[in-house]
Symmetry: C2
Subunit: 184 residues, 2 copies
């Protein structure tokens, strides 16, 4: 049986990546190898490498915003004005299926995607709806509880944090619902 403890075995380097610009590539070099890794992943999955797929993947990984389908669509059409929304939506689903991306778990009704496969976690701001990446080593491999082990196959373990982000901590209860009054 495995538990959370409060021991502190030496400083771990933890990172908090806050957004800086929306859709800039993080690094030129890294972007290229990442793109090649993506092409290889497509080949392994028996999928064709199309300009649309590459552009969509690049838009996704070039953003730290955890964009919605529509946001990716708006970005990609700047380079490919004729791309259709459906292609973006379908491709993002495909990326998730082949493990090149995933949907960030949450309680909203708009799916938000992440193409960053490195170990990290998310903080969702319930006010501005921002999803902030952070990394806390102990969250990378949360142990599977005994009650589930054996009978259940756990494919993904996620620690989800919600609350008010650093930009919203002044007057947190003010205008909690930024967009609409309800949920969608």
């Amino acid at each position: 049986m495995e538990y959370f403890s409060r021991v502190s075995p030496g400083k771990k380097q933890e990172s908090l990546r806050v957004k800086m610009g929306s859709f800039e590539n993080k690094m030129g070099q890294a972007g290229d190898s990442q793109q090649e890794a993506f092409r290889q992943r497509c080949r392994s999955a028996g999928l064709r490498i199309t300009p649309q797929r590459e552009a969509i993947f690049q838009a996704l990984t070039g953003s730290v915003e955890h964009p919605t389908v529509d946001t990716v669509y708006q970005e990609v059409r700047r380079l490919m004005p004729h791309i259709s929304f459906d292609t973006v939506n379908r491709t993002l689903n495909t990326l998730c299926e082949i493990g090149a991306a995933f949907v960030v778990p949450g309680t909203d009704n708009v799916r938000r995607f992440d193409g960053n496969l490195s170990d990290h976690q998310h903080f969702r701001c319930i006010k501005c709806k921002r999803i902030v990446d952070f990394h806390h080593g102990p969250f990378d491999n949360v142990p599977v509880p005994d009650v589930l082990a054996g009978r259940f196959i756990v494919m993904r373990k996620t620690v989800c944090l919600e609350g008010f982000c650093d930009q919203c901590t002044t007057n947190p209860m003010d205008n909690v619902t930024q967009t609409t009054s309800g949920n969608r």
Copy 2:
């Protein structure tokens, strides 16, 4: 700084509640006190106690299925044939706002509600879409990472597990998408 550890300080009683019947009350006695607690919560929030609110809350807490709005609607209309879908939807949102219920975090596009406020966690089956309750003590109070502490206000910490449930572990990759091919 706080970490997950692998120590096992004596057996903790862990429970795994699998669904048995859909909308039966878990206990007659518990149901009554629960209902009174709900009425008190409404009063504290300045909300009126209406038959609809009580029925909706009862339908929610009387189920272990983490029902969708529509499922609650179908159940409540058996007793209140004239209730509208909108009332159910709006009321479920209200229950979440006053802390009498919450939306189970996930990556699907249908919101699923939970009126069980006792400490527990969820396993989401990606095949049959079932949400299974379980309880693993160490998950109840996941420590807030240092990178967030201070600048971020963490309101909710959730450990989300996904995979194949006990009923779906035979041929897990068979027919992964039970309902549609996509997501909604």
